[in-house]
């Protein structure tokens, strides 16, 4: 049992080390302050207890310099901590470009995961050690939160949009995965594990897939079936933007402004077409809300992403 506790204390991801260094430094600083304050209080309490013979001449009721001192010193330390912490934090938002994408769908009360080649898992996530992994996550119902204590990462998973999280596992093993945002009756049962494998083992595991279709080709079928191709194909008579090379490109919007066509943009364009209308196009696309489920949308995005360099 304690060995599992130790496995949490000893971080298992690349971000974990920098986070732990910050944690230990802050623990040191706050520890010194706490002990200093406690010592002073006890010391004063004993020395100046009523009836003691301590020297009480000229008791200070105000001392400008010392007050300035104990205002400015913490301020300087805090700003230092803030800068350090923010630098580490910004790493959480910068997944390496070669990160492996894995799709997470949370629902009451389970984690459903899908790899790009179509291999699916429930409440268990297999990843290779040493390889950056980016999770593209959404929820089918309420807010959940993907939390792997040993990796020092946590990210809320929201309905209606994608959030993402990345890590590079540094050692093989099995680590707790928790839902950290209260999500209803069986919240505490919404847990699982992240299994970190050696890259070769992982490759073998991933390939041992029982004939699933990969995500992008499933997306292509939906693209045909749901009628997207009717407007978005180059041969179509309807004036709709082409989807080839869209993913990752900067899109100009009709209301002015622009954004990068990422997972969230494509998702919104399918479900809430009025949210961002591409410049030069009329807002005529109907919403596919209720017609496509989360797994369909995920597949469509994978298909569009696969068209990034098709031409």
């Amino acid at each position: 049992m304690t060995s599992r506790a130790e496995s949490v204390l000893h971080s298992a991801s690349s971000l974990g080390r920098t986070v732990d260094a910050l944690f230990l430094s802050l623990l040191g600083i706050t520890g010194v302050v706490a002990i200093a304050v406690a010592t002073l209080i006890v010391f004063f309490a004993v020395r100046y207890r009523a009836g003691s013979k301590a020297d009480r001449s000229n008791p200070p009721v105000r001392a400008r310099w010392i007050e300035i001192c104990w205002t400015v010193t913490p301020l300087a330390i805090f700003i230092g901590l803030f800068v350090w912490s923010s630098l580490v934090f910004s790493d959480f938002y910068r997944p390496p470009a070669d990160a492996m994408r894995i799709h997470v769908l949370a629902r009451q009360w389970m984690w459903k995961l899908e790899h790009d080649n179509g291999r699916r898992e429930i409440n268990e996530l297999h990843v290779p050690a040493g390889q950056p992994v980016e999770l593209i996550m959404t929820s089918q119902d309420v807010i959940h939160s993907f939390f792997v204590p040993a990796f020092r990462v946590k990210q809320d998973v929201l309905p209606g949009r994608y959030t993402s999280l990345w890590f590079t596992a540094t050692r093989a093993g099995r680590f707790n995965l928790f839902c950290a945002e209260y999500c209803g009756t069986d919240h505490s049962n919404m847990h699982g594990s992240v299994v970190v494998m050696q890259p070769a083992d992982f490759a073998a595991w991933l390939a041992a897939t029982p004939g699933d279709q990969d995500l992008a080709s499933r997306g292509f079928e939906i693209y045909r079936r749901a009628g997207c191709s009717g407007c978005h194909e180059a041969t179509s008579t309807v004036h709709a933007p082409s989807l080839v090379g869209l993913f990752g490109r900067t899109v100009q919007l009709s209301g002015g402004g622009s954004l990068v066509a990422d997972d969230n943009y494509i998702r919104d364009s399918i479900l809430l077409p009025d949210k961002h209308v591409a410049a030069g196009f009329a807002p005529v696309m109907p919403s596919y809300q209720g017609q496509l489920d989360e797994e369909d949308i995920r597949a469509l995005i994978a298909y569009i992403a696969s068209q990034r360099s098709a031409q």
Binding site: T18, R49, R56, F78, F89, N176, S188
Partner: protein, 537 residues
């Protein structure tokens, strides 16, 4: 002193202006209203405590073997809703504040006595809603009412609970309004702003937060109820709304609410510590400015509850900086209380034990807050038991400790009788020990990654949970002790003098218990605050 009780009391004591229930329920005397509040919040405190006790019993083992998951969720929701809105927020302002602010500033009443009574009735109405919610089967959203769980998924009595909190909000607003006007307009001649006791400053700043933040919560809860009933609203992502909008609005109230709870506690400590150190509070003006600083910056830090929620990274970084900044005035206060002890002549009566306990626990709570202000650490620690431990150190270790300290300090003034000091010291030590044993292990649980609001948990967390539950048992005993001996003191205690502690402050210049009009004559000679002189040796 063994005379008949009524003979020793001031003939027009507020306790003697009519003994009937009706005379209490229609009173406009701020002192009686304070007691009405005290009775109500004590009831809710023990109700919320009962929920906590079952929670801690359940968590003795990793499996859910005492209550089922749904019941567990309803228990922690009840605990949170009751403790936050029906105990902590009204605790010090509505009881000690109501009783003492007019006395401390040399006024005969609060500015709007009828409104004051109305706020107690509104509080009671809100409380009835919450009790009905519990009887109807409870609510399971957590006290935070996060959407879309609360609006579209929960099958419990969300609307009823939300109504209760909505209603009690108006009681907060009216109390805040009353205090602001009272402090501005009813100070005795010569009671300048910088002669005000820090307790008054603290409650004044608290009132400003009550008045400005509570309406946001009220409106937000209304939107929740509306969205739940009609399935239309601004929080539902399926309609283009955003659940994060709810979180922003909720924390825009609920973070300042933390300061609503802790500022008055700081005020209490600032009264007790100088009195038992026989020294003026160190850096009085700095202390007053720090209170205002906390109240103002406190409005700008709500986003630190949302570092992993999906808000933008830049927003998180700004909120992180502001959260570090709000720690500065809190740190100043701790240093100043410590410096107040220097060259004092310190006695360890029970109020002082509570106050020193408050400083220690508040310091730990504040320092661990820095971990949560640091974005990169908060990612790991948020939504774990680390957060639970942190805010219990502030709200229970801080506010409840100070509230009890204040009750002991002013009990002779309030009921005109003194309590058994030995028992009070035993209780103070029991609570301190029990509290630390309950909540310190929870810091460790959080660091090890145990998420909050978990009915069952991984077996590696059991040992620390056992420590915590044992501590909770001790804490429960610690809280029952004052309930017993303070009530006993009210009925049977020895008669107290007007100023048993030799304290400064106008409230001690009038008999214990005070007459209905507070003062026979409004004091005109207002001394400097905390004019204590240490015993020279």
């Amino acid at each position: 002193m063994s005379a008949e009780p009524s003979r020793a009391f001031h003939p027009s004591s507020y306790l003697h202006g009519g003994y009937t229930l009706a005379s209490w329920l229609t009173t406009r005397d701020h002192k009686r209203i304070a007691l009405l509040y005290m009775i109500s919040i004590t009831g809710f405190f023990f109700l919320g405590g009962a929920a906590a006790s079952i929670i801690r019993l359940e968590l003795l083992t990793p499996n859910g073997d005492l209550v089922d998951a749904q019941t567990y969720n309803e228990l922690f929701t009840a605990h949170g809703v009751i403790m936050v809105w029906f105990f902590l927020i009204p605790s010090i302002p509505a009881t000690l504040g109501n009783f003492l602010i007019p006395l401390m500033i040399g006024a005969r009443e609060v500015a709007f006595p009828r409104l004051n009574l109305a706020s107690w009735y509104i509080y009671t109405l809100g409380g009835i809603f919450v009790l009905i919610t519990l009887l109807a089967g409870g609510v399971d959203t957590g006290w935070t009412f996060y959407t879309p769980f609360s609006t579209l998924f929960s099958r419990s009595n969300v609307v009823l609970a939300v109504c209760g909190v909505f209603i009690v909000g108006f009681s907060s607003i009216l109390t805040g309004l009353n205090f602001i006007v009272t402090v501005h307009r009813l100070r005795a001649p010569g009671m300048t702003w910088f002669k005000l006791p820090l307790f008054v400053w603290a409650n004044y700043a608290t009132s400003a937060i009550l008045v400005l933040a509570t309406p946001i919560l009220a409106m937000t809860l209304l939107l929740i109820a509306f969205e739940r009933i009609t399935h239309i609203g601004i929080f539902d992502p399926a309609l283009g709304g955003d659940p994060l909008l709810f979180q922003h609005l909720f924390w825009f109230y609920s973070h300042p609410a933390v300061y609503i709870m802790v500022l008055p506690a700081m005020g209490v400590a600032s009264e007790i510590i100088p009195c038992f150190a026989r020294k003026p509070v160190f850096g009085y003006r700095t202390m007053a400015y720090a209170i205002l600083g906390i109240a103002m910056i406190g409005f700008l830090v709500w986003g630190h509850h949302m570092f992993v929620s999906g808000q933008s990274m830049y927003a998180s970084v700004v909120f992180s900086l502001l959260s570090f900044l709000v720690a500065i005035p809190s740190a100043i206060k701790v240093f100043n209380w410590t410096a107040t002890l220097y060259k004092g002549s310190i006695s360890f009566s029970s109020p002082m034990l509570y106050a020193l306990g408050f400083v220690g626990l508040f310091t730990i709570g504040g320092l661990t807050g820095l971990f949560l202000a640091a974005t990169a650490l908060d990612v790991h620690l948020t939504d774990t038991y680390f957060v639970i431990a942190h805010f219990h150190y502030i709200m229970v270790g801080g506010t409840v400790m100070a509230y009890l300290g204040g009750l002991h300090f002013w009990w002779p003034k309030i009921v005109g009788r003194s309590y058994p000091e030995t028992w009070a010291r035993i209780a103070a030590v029991t609570i301190f020990v029990g509290f630390n044993l309950t909540f310190f292990p929870q810091y460790l649980l959080g660091v090890l990654g145990m998420p909050r609001r978990y009915h069952t948990y991984a077996p590696e967390y059991q040992l620390l949970n056992e420590f915590s539950s044992t501590g909770a048992g001790i804490l429960a005993v610690g809280y029952l002790l004052p309930l017993a001996y303070l009530i006993w003191a009210m009925l049977r205690g020895k008669h107290a003098e007007a100023n048993p502690w030799g304290a400064t402050g106008l409230e001690w210049q009038t008999p214990s218990p005070p007459p209905q009009e507070n003062f026979e004559e409004i004091p005109t000679d207002v001394p400097e605050p905390y004019a204590y002189r240490a015993v020279e040796s």
